[in-house]
């Protein structure tokens, strides 16, 4: 982790060995998606750039402007949607279901990350797209995960 990446929000608050973003994502998946801990694991090494990716993000507009971005393969987002809704692998989910579910996961992760930001201001509604969102000025921090063996990245970005 670079010096910049070590202090995405408040250097004074981030001296613990535990990564708060990793902890938040783990809690969100354990409570909402899987119903139990352990299925979202930090990945050793960076996640590959998705071939058929889906990107979900929310922005925090306060004293500092930040973006929380989730990146994964569309196939993983589809599995995530089924898990969130308690559906079986045979149940059909459409693109709107996937965008809504993946966006809601970004919303919950982002909302909890927002609590780390001093004077956080407002949280935007989630957006979901098949391409990386524009206007992200710089990567502050990225946590690569494996969710049930599939790559998923939670990253924090500074906005201009």
């Amino acid at each position: 982790m670079s010096e910049d990446m070590a202090t995405p929000f408040d250097p004074g608050e981030w001296t613990d060995a535990a990564d708060p973003v990793e902890a938040i994502a783990s809690e969100v998946f354990a409570a909402m998606v899987d119903g139990e801990p352990g299925h979202l694991q930090p990945r050793s090494g960076p996640a590959p750039e998705p071939d058929d990716g889906l990107y979900a993000w929310v922005d925090v507009h306060g004293a500092t402007r930040r973006r929380v971005l989730l990146t994964t393969e569309r196939e993983t987002a589809t599995a995530l949607t089924r898990a969130l809704l308690g559906l079986s692998p045979d149940d059909t989910v459409d693109d709107d279901d996937i965008a809504d579910a993946f966006g809601e996961v970004a919303n919950v992760v982002g909302g909890n990350v927002k609590a780390l930001v001093p004077d956080p201001g407002d949280l935007t509604l989630p957006e979901v797209a098949p391409t990386r969102p524009p206007a992200a000025a710089g990567l502050l921090h990225a946590v690569p995960f494996d969710w049930r063996g599939r790559p998923l990245v939670v990253s924090l970005w500074a906005l201009p």
Binding site: M32, L85, D100, A101, N107, N112
Partner: protein, 127 residues
């Protein structure tokens, strides 16, 4: 018993509805605070509203404030269910008139426990 589930995410409406229905609630969904107000104006007799905070058109805080201005809806129990987890936001919601506050992510038990605390369900009976 009728419950209004107000959230712009249909995923979240389905999750919360899936928790409430086995507890005996007839669930009515609304995509934002204005849709929920319209349903109440049209005569929906709900005892519980689970309200997201960040929504387009009318947010949850606006909905709660609007409900609390009307005596005819004073028996409606309002539970804010939101990602807004800062203490200052919780205070704002409770000051506006929310009875309880649930932070996403939540477990089904967290919702059930709040409803029991509010006297809306008896978990011994529904078990």
């Amino acid at each position: 018993m009728k419950a209004l589930v107000i959230d712009d995410s249909r995923t979240m409406r389905r999750i919360i509805g899936g928790i409430l229905r086995p507890l005996g609630f007839d669930v009515v969904e609304a995509e934002n605070g204005q849709d929920a107000l319209d349903a109440l104006e049209a005569g929906l007799d709900a005892e519980l509203a689970c309200v997201d905070w960040n929504m387009p058109v009318m947010d949850g805080l606006g909905f709660i404030s609007a409900v609390r201005r009307e005596r005819r809806w004073r028996d409606l129990t309002l539970v804010m269910v939101t990602t807004e987890s800062e203490q200052s936001q919780i205070v704002r919601a409770l000051a506006a008139g929310a009875h309880e506050y649930v932070i996403k992510p939540f477990t089904p038990d967290a919702i059930r426990d709040k409803l029991q605390l509010l006297g809306l369900v008896d978990l011994q009976e529904t078990a």
